[in-house]
Assembly symmetry: C2
Homo-oligomer: 214 residues x 2
């Protein structure tokens, strides 16, 4: 821990360039980013980018893989955890993502946009097999709940889309929302923290109401 911090404070040139690339790529996207922008942001010269990383694209790939990892990270663990209930999982997932998104608000728009720019690249970069071996435990729990209530639940894909939509979209549209409502970044983050408790409640309500209907 101590040594980790030391490394970050006296970061190597390579680390500083990578950090600068992370900032610029995330804000402007791959196509709009100039290697000169990264050099300026890092405080070093343009030539060093090619010295440490062979090309703009290779540097971008490193950043992208780290971002995708940050985004998918630990979700596999959460949804397969046998010690938490279905609704506890919802709370944990939402809390995990909102904390991460407040720290990295530009992340989802960046990732979604780059996937859109080159869909095929995603397939090779995201570990598809990562979450695919066997049925996810959360799905098992879902089916058990449906059986216990003797109910035909709504398509779980809708619930999944609702959960990530409610959690992630406000960050994707952050600037638009703040522009139209005039709220500050501080107040926006406070709203998002409120949603940590509200979203799982809302999703639970949606699930419950879909049971009563049938």
């Amino acid at each position: 821990m101590k040594s980790e911090q030391k490394i970050e404070k006296n970061a190597s040139t390579e680390e500083k360039i990578k950090e600068a690339a992370r900032v610029v790529f995330t804000r402007k996207g791959y196509a709009a980013t100039r290697t000169r922008d990264i050099a300026e942001e890092s405080g070093y010269n343009l030539a060093l980018i090619n010295y440490y990383f062979r090309s703009k694209e290779k540097l971008f790939d490193i950043i992208m893989v780290e971002h995708l990892h940050l985004f998918m990270q630990s979700i596999a663990g959460i949804v397969n955890d046998r010690s938490t209930t279905l609704f506890e999982k919802l709370e944990i997932i939402v809390a995990h993502y909102i904390d991460m998104l407040i720290a990295n608000p530009g992340l989802p728009l960046f990732i979604l946009n780059e996937i859109n720019a080159d869909p095929d690249k995603l397939i090779s970069k995201v570990g598809i097999g990562e979450m695919a071996h066997g049925e996810l435990y959360i799905i098992t729990q879902w089916k058990e709940m449906a059986a216990a209530n003797n109910a035909q639940l709504v398509n779980p894909l809708h619930i999944f889309m609702n959960l990530i939509s409610l959690t992630i979209f406000p960050f994707v549209a952050c600037l638009l929302i703040r522009n139209r409502t005039g709220i500050s970044e501080e107040n926006f983050n406070a709203l998002m923290l409120e949603r940590k408790k509200l979203i799982p409640m809302w999703v639970k309500t949606i699930i419950m109401s879909s049971m009563q209907q049938t």
Copy 2:
């Protein structure tokens, strides 16, 4: 109507170039788009783009304004309509957007990304005053409902964010969702059509549950 169709079929060179620009800009974004891509897509030469539109940026601005108009269009009318109830408005808004998004699935990601790329430009392009004169009637209806139920409702901004999140986000993350779930474009659109009925129901449920709590 008939003459409109005729114009579209025998579209002028200017219209063809604009349509090509719309397609390419929307798919690749401003920075990644080359004027040569637009020329190729239009079937005409690169020089004609500068003949009809003075520059890449001016052409982009035209496309962007049209897209923003398409996105904001008629919403002001819906939310100020005195002949519909609050919940009817929710249904109309969601239905309107889902139909529009199935026809233009790339639109929201394009707009959100370009706003992110140049936030200041948005302010000058979107008519800020457009919806700002006087309180929106839907807000009045919201307050009346809160008063009638003698309830302190949840921040309406949350409800608004929920509505647009549930409606728009699946289209923003369309490729990611389809990649992870393996569903076809056809099935994805079918799911979205299901959501036309489901989202207003869910949002209504969320509003109702927030009343019962207080």
